[in-house]
Symmetry: C2
Subunit: 122 residues, 2 copies
């Protein structure tokens, strides 16, 4: 097809940080990550220029954005603004989809870690 | 929260075209539409500048992009490039999420129909 039809089942899952197992797909402008997150897994605080929208399909996650703690739940959508500091803790096992704009170049095959890109842009 | 936590269940569903019942949420850069689509519903061919990514949660949909027919399925993601002509037919009842970049201004409250925006930009 002129666009792209992706079967999420066929994509390889990678443990990107401990407890966070993700499959990554890119469109022309956005990056999509389908996560399987272990109960208790913690994503340390960080920030990036990308706007990030989190669709929670299963489970509960504590999501802290610029110091405010929010409890996400299945059927919720959380918006993390560009450059907002954020961290996460999975209160239960979760299934989540992140949508990033612009593309997470660091999530492309062979992509540089985000910290290296940030250093180039600062 | 500094961002936004949205409960999809709390959003109003609107029948945007016959058989296509959608709930709409916007982030700073993207528009998200959670669709409940009736079996047999048809979306006539159209095009827009927005890139559109379709996450199929349930059901089967025939998605024609620039004349090529594709059969999407639960767990698939279809990418419709900016300005590509596309149409859809729900082969079964479907649950689907569309993600658009940039924002669908026509889906904001009081937004002008897309055709009016296109006329302004042409």
């Amino acid at each position: 097809m002129p666009g792209n039809l992706i079967d999420w089942q066929s994509l390889e899952e990678k443990t990107i940080i401990p407890g966070f197992h993700g499959k990554v797909a890119h469109s022309a402008n956005m990056t999509f990550v389908l996560w399987r997150i272990d109960a208790g897994a913690v994503l340390p605080e960080h920030a990036h220029l990308h706007e990030q929208v989190v669709q929670v399909f299963e489970g509960e996650m504590e999501l802290t954005i610029d110091g405010e703690v929010n409890k996400t739940f299945a059927g919720s959508m959380a918006v993390i603004p560009s450059r907002a500091r954020h961290s996460a803790k999975a209160l239960t096992a979760c299934r989540v989809m992140d949508v990033f704009y612009p593309i997470r170049e660091d999530y492309r095959p062979g992509g540089k870690p985000l910290i290296a890109i940030a250093a180039e842009q600062s």
